[in-house]
């Protein structure tokens, strides 16, 4: 069966957080953009949280791990060589479909880790290059919070007030004030007041299962409707196999397969990869040609390397008071950045942030929640009653440093439904991370005890928390040690862009989505400014 061929102007691969922002930005400037997405639309009405067996669904079709979920659009990610497992979603909206929408920003120092602290790699851009784009993104996504945080550069007033602290959060805020540790109400893409067709958060808990009333943003309900209204084209069910190049080494388009198995070739003037820190290197490493024998644009051998995931140790405190920890958006209410910046008196470089999580239903609690362990057998029911509703968990997001052996490769021994070789994640904790984890667990434990917890339970890292995928096609000024330049363009292939978390030169110690969306918006502006589209 011959491939069907067509031609477009700008071709974006991946309709997640970055792809949506980039497409919208170019479309708003009148540029013709087409996006290919291997998954389908997820209707907010399909949120599973209204079902009696919603917790069962959480373990299965809404599992964040594609190897467990195994939806039609999911591709295998071999993870037996990684102590942290992948957590992504494939569909319109990408991983914002199952994210918890916590949106702190990078700090200025995060872009200068090599210059300031002698580790990792500097970005070729600064916080100040992105500040305007953070603001644009906050407006489109809808951001709750409270401006005036002295721990970060100024930002504009937030769209709505912050999410409520809740009973456990209030206790912890009191404890932070007693300890004189810096905290601030978190920014989040969760509306606390109605805005257009999106309703205010009603505190139901499991944000990552989808938000039936649209309080929690995902780009399928924010960027995409606007981008499509501006004339952008979105094709779903399009599994991209590889990026094509001509004899001069320039990208000419992509080869993709539709759900019927029909092969397509779509030619484009510019190809933009936005498939996340695993999906993007996977496609580019599969795009081998005579001109690019190690994968497209990979003369530096940096493609797939420097995978950063944010090790996340978790400490759960148990309170005598019923703090109703099943209520409220589950991942955040306040942000603790007391230990964020580098401190030479510590035995590790860089730092971490802490956030208070909640929203654990009965089944998740019984299975041990984030870090406690409930016995089976005779003591089970008593232990369940002790924990359920009575816990708060402090999650510690540790800055991850880039290491070339932490990486994404491809493994042709396993393929997806279209015959495309699987990605393999290889990841181990470095010594710096181990020391930081130890410090973070100690801080989180001290905080919970100060807040009144009568016992605490710690896990050194959450093995299922591979949702921050960064660094695998990193940005830099030197083509020998980076994959893209400051405009997100490949050093080797000038009309190939990477705009997702792959381009992060450093990981910061915060959730990466607003930063990668700001990077994508900026890349769109630079493409237009340089008259390349």
């Amino acid at each position: 069966m011959a491939a069907l061929r067509d031609e477009v102007n700008v071709l974006v691969v991946g309709a997640g957080a970055a792809g949506a922002a980039f497409t919208w930005r170019l479309a708003s400037m009148g540029v013709a953009v087409t996006c290919l997405e291997q998954g389908e639309w997820q209707s907010p009405e399909s949120s599973l949280t209204a079902l009696e067996n919603w917790e069962s669904k959480r373990l299965r079709e809404r599992s964040p791990n594609p190897n467990i979920r195994r939806n039609a659009a999911d591709y295998p990610i071999l993870d037996d060589t990684s102590i942290i497992k992948p957590a992504i979603f494939n569909g319109v909206g990408g991983s914002t479909i199952l994210w918890s929408a916590h949106t702190p920003r990078f700090r200025p120092s995060d872009f200068r880790v090599k210059s300031l602290d002698g580790v990792g790699a500097d970005w070729p851009i600064s916080y100040w290059d992105l500040a305007e784009y953070y603001e644009i993104n906050d407006e489109i996504m809808g951001t709750s919070g409270q401006h005036g945080d002295p721990g970060n550069p100024p930002r504009t007033p937030r769209t709505t007030p912050p999410v409520p602290l809740g009973l456990a959060g209030s206790r912890i805020a009191d404890a932070l004030n007693d300890l004189k540790w810096h905290w601030w109400p978190s920014d989040g893409n969760i509306l606390t007041l109605d805005r257009g067709s999106r309703k205010a958060c009603n505190g139901c808990g499991p944000c990552e299962m989808g938000c039936a009333n649209g309080a929690r943003a995902s780009v399928d309900i924010t960027y995409w409707p606007e981008a499509l209204a501006l004339g952008a084209e979105l094709r779903t069910g399009a599994t991209v196999r590889r990026v094509l190049v001509d004899a001069t080494g320039r990208a000419t388009g992509v080869e993709w397969i539709d759900p019927t198995g029909q092969e397509h070739v779509t030619h484009a003037n510019v190809v933009v990869m936005a498939c996340n820190g695993v999906g993007t290197p996977r496609i580019l490493l599969n795009s081998v040609s005579k001109e690019h024998p190690r994968g497209l644009g990979n003369s530096s051998d940096q493609l797939g390397r420097n995978l950063m995931l944010h090790p996340i140790p978790v400490v759960t405190g148990v309170f005598d008071e019923d703090v109703q920890s099943w209520s409220g958006n589950d991942a955040f209410a306040l942000l603790i950045q007391e230990f964020y910046e580098n401190d030479e008196s510590r035995d590790f470089k860089r730092g971490y942030e802490m956030q208070v999580t909640r929203g654990q239903g009965p089944l998740v609690t019984a299975l041990g929640g984030f870090s406690h362990d409930i016995p089976w057998g005779l003591g089970h029911h008593e232990a369940f009653e002790k924990f359920f509703g009575h816990v708060a968990t402090v999650a510690v997001t540790c800055e991850d440093l880039p290491h070339p052996n932490n990486r994404v490769t491809i493994d042709p021994s396993v393929t997806d439904r279209c015959g495309v070789p699987a990605a393999r994640m290889s990841y181990e904790l470095e010594e710096n991370s181990k020391k930081m984890i130890k410090h973070g667990v100690k801080s989180a434990t001290a905080l919970l005890v100060k807040a009144g917890a009568r016992e605490t339970h710690a896990k050194p890292f959450a093995p299922s928390a591979g949702f921050h995928l960064m660094g695998t096609a990193r940005m830099g000024s030197n083509p020998k040690d980076s994959f893209v330049n400051q405009a997100c363009r490949s050093h080797d292939v000038p009309n190939l862009l990477v705009i997702d978390g792959s381009v992060f030169a450093s990981a910061g110690a915060v959730n990466p989505t607003p930063t990668l969306q700001a990077v994508a918006l900026r890349a769109a502006d630079l493409l237009r400014e340089d008259a390349l589209v």
Binding site: S115, A131, E132, R155
Partner: protein, 160 residues
């Protein structure tokens, strides 16, 4: 086989004055139904049944499985807990024994009971300069008036 599954699941989730034993709400049958939706889970469930059959003379099936095949035990425990805690009778007990409402999270949501607490250091600028002139300028401005309301236009000027 159901007797063996009942014995095993009751080992994991025995009953008491408040909570039903697993066998009372047919957890074994629900486990089988849940596992049947996925070929890998079905295969593991069949392994569980084989294990129980091969060890039926043992009194403590839970302990035996945990000791002899920890991977299979973890699978069986998660599946049994899943079957138990999605049962309406168990959800009723959860609601009676806590402040939780016996209903799904949506559409009603939950009231988030809270108190108002303000950060202790609202006026002390804490972020670290990146060494650029822009950092210095913004730090000075922010220190002058930490609660100033900034506009997008002002922030746009920061771009190089």
């Amino acid at each position: 086989m159901s007797t063996l599954l009942d014995r095993f699941t009751n080992d994991l989730l025995p009953g008491n004055d408040h909570w039903p034993a697993a066998s009372e709400i047919e957890v074994g049958a629900v486990m089988q139904e849940l596992a049947s939706t996925d070929s890998e889970q079905k295969s593991l469930f069949d392994r569980l049944l084989d294990f129980l059959e091969n060890h039926k003379e043992r009194l403590a099936l839970g302990e035996t499985l945990e000791a002899e095949d920890s991977e299979l035990f973890v699978f069986a425990k998660v599946l049994a807990f899943e079957a138990y805690y999605i049962n309406p009778k168990v959800r009723e007990v959860v609601a009676r024994r806590s402040m939780y409402a016996n209903r799904p999270p949506q559409p009603a949501g939950f009231l988030v009971v809270t108190r108002r607490v303000s950060p202790w250091n609202e006026g002390e600028i804490l972020w670290r300069s990146d060494g650029t002139e822009r950092s210095g300028e913004v730090l000075i401005e922010q220190k002058k008036d930490p609660k100033k309301t900034w506009t997008v236009e002002e922030i746009r000027q920061w771009r190089r």
